[in-house]
């Protein structure tokens, strides 16, 4: 099928039976998103390269024997794509059931919210093997909870050459024993980690979590519904990173950065991410 568009940068594809015109350098996921067709994914992130890890974003492409990951496959002229075919839905249901069987998804609402839609039965498998390990608390800035880790690659990519270039964490082990690990599994404070928190920022399941959030959850006092997010500018160096201050009860409880803002794309350094504690101190200090 030939390209019907006059614009050489655009091509036509069939998305769930509808003919749409899209930029030819887009992935199927991006092209779908631009046409209001949502495809679920865990491991994809706008500012990281596709890891092809979670397989949740698979779609059916006419002529392809296997399902294709929409996050990394680019659109082609005349491509006939089904994003919610029975085969696609069965595949996604199985992936979600596997994850629910092995992982603690209690703090991954974006994943859990898919369960009803895909008819997930979390008791389908008789002898589930759960990853259970004590939460690792090695400093006052973050915690690692491996029972929540779905091995999506985001933290490793954010720490590595796609953003931070610190390389404090990587994958170790094979198969079911695969884990995100520091070198020789040393504690984070002994590793190369520079505590930018960019791994925590991209974690979809709270396996990596800011200690402030962990402590508040532990005290049953983490109340996202009572939190306000205010965008402002970091008080340290002159780069001008935008900070999103998450406040609860007039105290800062977490800091993130907007991924859509070009200065940071969601990244921060240790000072911007954690150097706000003095604001809470000043608040307490009745002078």
């Amino acid at each position: 099928m030939s390209d019907m568009s006059d614009d050489a940068t655009k091509i036509s594809i069939f998305l769930n039976g509808n003919k749409v015109t899209v930029q030819k350098d887009l992935t199927i996921l991006e092209a779908s998103s631009k046409n209001m067709v949502d495809i679920p994914t865990i491991c994809w992130s706008e500012h990281l390269e596709p890891a092809n890890a979670c397989r949740l974003c698979v779609v059916e492409v006419e002529g392809s024997k296997t399902l294709v990951p929409s996050c990394s496959r680019r659109v082609e002229s005349g491509m006939n794509i089904l994003t919610e075919s029975p085969r696609v839905r069965a595949s996604r249901r199985m992936i979600l059931e596997f994850l629910a069987t092995t992982n603690d998804l209690s703090q991954a609402p974006e994943i859990v919210t898919l369960f009803d839609d895909y008819g997930v039965d979390i008791d389908r498998y008789e002898r589930p093997t759960r990853i259970s390990e004590e939460v690792r608390i090695q400093d006052e800035l973050y915690i690692r909870d491996y029972s929540k880790c779905v091995l999506c690659y985001k933290c490793v990519d954010a720490c590595g050459e796609q953003a931070q270039n610190t390389f404090a964490i990587a994958f170790s082990g094979r198969g079911f024993d695969t884990q995100v690990s520091t070198e020789f599994d040393v504690g984070l404070p002994e590793s190369n980690c520079v505590y930018c928190g960019n791994c925590v920022a991209v974690c979809p399941t709270n396996a990596l979590q800011f200690k402030t959030e962990f402590d508040l959850r532990d005290a049953s006092n983490w109340r996202p519904e009572d939190q306000t997010v205010t965008t402002t500018v970091c008080s340290y160096c002159g780069v001008g990173c935008n900070l999103e201050l998450h406040t609860q009860g007039d105290q800062i409880v977490k800091v993130t950065s907007p991924t859509e803002h070009d200065v940071t794309n969601g990244n921060l350094c240790i000072k911007g991410r954690f150097g706000w504690e003095y604001v809470n101190l000043v608040m307490k200090d009745d002078r």
């Binding site: 900070l243 003095y278 002078r287």
Partner: protein, 543 residues
């Protein structure tokens, strides 16, 4: 630079630079979120040159690290210029159209041969040659610097020597090429833009320009003194001479941050009146007659700050103010009221709109626009103007858009004011650590797992010569004072050079040692080059 006090390029342009020269900047630690773009550029194939006496975290990523001797930047820059001219890699068309003073400049750098530069800087001549050829041959190239260039007695000359290189090669005024000073504080750019400079009104309008003054006088309803004021260093000199009798310090901690701190504290202590406005009771605030407790600007107030890429962005209150604290702006306005001034602009947006009415480069930046998007880069002369990504595009226009051609500057290598000598044989340079900031007022309050406190870092060779072990307490002295510090043997320093941060004055009062020779043009002290000695510490209480 060439008439505007700001970096020429936007951050994202560095991703399209073929050659990146970090000159006296350890951006990996001091500006990490900027450095991520340098890393992106490297992934695309850019070459990175890092010029720093220390083999810093940034230098670890460099294609070539040029470990020059402290304070020899002009010799290096002039040698690079000479080599570019010698190899006929300069852009004569650009030079003829857009610059003046080339012939004189060419003669002035003739003396700086590769061999002489090697002797002065300690950098092998082939490395200087490689830098010169790479920079001049690249389609796009940027030079970025920070305090390694400006914390010297000849700060302005250092900067001008880098500007010469850009003029020589046409690496300015185009996308991807430029000259970028990375600002060390979140609103140091904005402070200068707003006229917190002795000789400038907001928007870099000259105080000795009668027309500019008249415009401000009409709005301010008062006469503006045409004489430039004093910059910080001249203020301290005037305090020493008892001529300056009252000082109002807002959000700065000079008792800890000034070079030669003992002398600075003496000057502060002999004032008739010291007013300090701060969020904490800093060492300076402890010396004050009156303290105005301020709220935390970036988390408790509305307003704007301006970043290193001239981007004006909104700060907004996220938490309420404590007890008796007030917004900085409200304190200043209330003070003005009590002094009988009757300022018409009230509150941050009104004050900002007043700025817009007086500073053409800010005119288009309404709060509405700033709130809608990711901020705006000056100059932004009208509400339809999108802001300006890079400066000095006029350099590439046939008639220079009516501007005066950019002048080459003759700069002369002099080296640090404080010479090494047998009594003080080591060179002390100071700088930042990733997790801390300035005198630590803000940054000491969070539990950083990578905080190392304050040590005196030295090479194994120097440690052996002095006879000290890693972790041993040593006595560190300059001719201005002595302090005890913990020695730390590191691998990134050459023999003869020692390093300390300045984030923990409560642990080690490093500015008791630093050198207050300062730059006549900018007033910046030579923090980067003091002559010191290190001795084994002998605890007299125990002997």
């Amino acid at each position: 630079m060439f008439g505007a006090g700001g970096g020429t390029s936007s951050y994202r342009e560095v991703e399209d630079a073929e050659v990146i020269v970090l000159w006296g900047s350890n951006a990996r630690d001091a500006h990490p979120i900027y450095f991520r773009r340098v890393l992106k550029a490297l992934r695309k194939g850019a070459k990175l040159f890092v010029i720093d006496p220390r083999r810093t975290a940034s230098a670890e990523f460099a294609d070539l690290w040029l470990g020059l001797d402290v304070g020899t930047d002009i010799a290096l820059a002039n040698a690079v210029a000479r080599e570019i001219i010698d190899a006929n890699l300069h852009d004569l068309t650009f030079i003829e159209r857009a610059t003046t003073g080339f012939e004189k400049f060419k003669v002035s750098v003739e003396w700086y041969t590769l061999e002489r530069a090697e002797l002065i800087t300690g950098i092998p001549s082939h490395a200087i040659q490689e830098l010169a050829h790479a920079y001049a041959s690249a389609k796009t190239a940027q030079i970025l610097w920070t305090l390694g260039i400006t914390e010297h007695h000849n700060a302005v000359e250092n900067v001008l020597s880098l500007c010469n290189l850009a003029l020589l090669t046409g690496h300015v005024g185009r996308w991807g090429s430029g000259l970028v000073p990375l600002r060390g504080q979140n609103n140091v750019q904005g402070g200068g833009d707003m006229g917190a400079l002795p000789n400038k009104l907001p928007g870099f309008q000259d105080i000795d320009d009668a027309d500019a003054r008249r415009k401000f006088e009409q709005v301010y309803g008062t006469r503006i003194n045409p004489e430039p004021g004093l910059h910080l260093t001249l203020m301290f000199e005037a305090m020493h001479r008892n001529e300056l009798r009252a000082l109002y310090v807002i959000g700065e901690n000079p008792a800890d941050s000034e070079a030669d701190a003992k002398s600075a504290r003496k000057a502060l202590s002999q004032l008739d009146t010291l007013i300090v406005q701060d969020i904490f009771l800093t060492r300076t605030a402890e010396m004050a007659d009156v303290v105005f407790p301020a709220s935390v600007g970036w988390a408790q107030s509305d307003g704007t700050v301006t970043s290193s890429e001239r981007r004006v962005q909104r700060v907004r209150p996220a938490v309420s103010r404590a007890g008796s604290t007030k917004d900085d702006l409200d304190i200043i306005v209330e003070l003005a009221d009590r002094l009988g001034a009757n300022w018409s602009a009230r509150g941050p947006e009104q004050v900002w709109d007043e700025v817009r009415s007086l500073s053409p480069m800010h005119a288009g930046m309404s709060y509405e626009r700033l709130d809608e998007g990711p901020g705006l880069q000056w100059p932004c002369p009208s509400t339809e103007h999108p802001g300006t990504e890079y400066l000095h595009e006029w350099l590439w226009k046939g008639d220079l858009g009516g501007h005066r051609a950019a002048p080459f500057s003759v700069t002369v290598h002099e080296g640090p004011k404080e010479h090494l000598n047998p009594d003080y044989p080591l060179r002390l340079t100071t700088g930042r650590a990733l997790d801390s900031f300035n005198t630590g007022v803000q940054s000491r309050n969070y539990p950083s797992p990578i905080r190392t406190g304050q040590t005196i870092d030295l090479s194994a060779m120097d440690a052996k010569a002095i006879g000290v072990f890693d972790g041993e307490t040593v006595k560190v002295s300059s001719k201005r004072g002595s302090i005890n510090m913990t020695a730390k043997i590191v691998e990134n320093l050459p023999a003869g050079l020692v390093f300390s941060t300045f984030h923990f004055p409560e642990i080690a009062d490093i500015n008791l040692l630093t050198n207050d020779h300062w730059d006549l043009m900018s007033g910046t002290s030579e923090f980067k080059a003091s002559a010191i000695r290190i001795d084994k510490f002998i605890d007299e209480a125990k002997t």
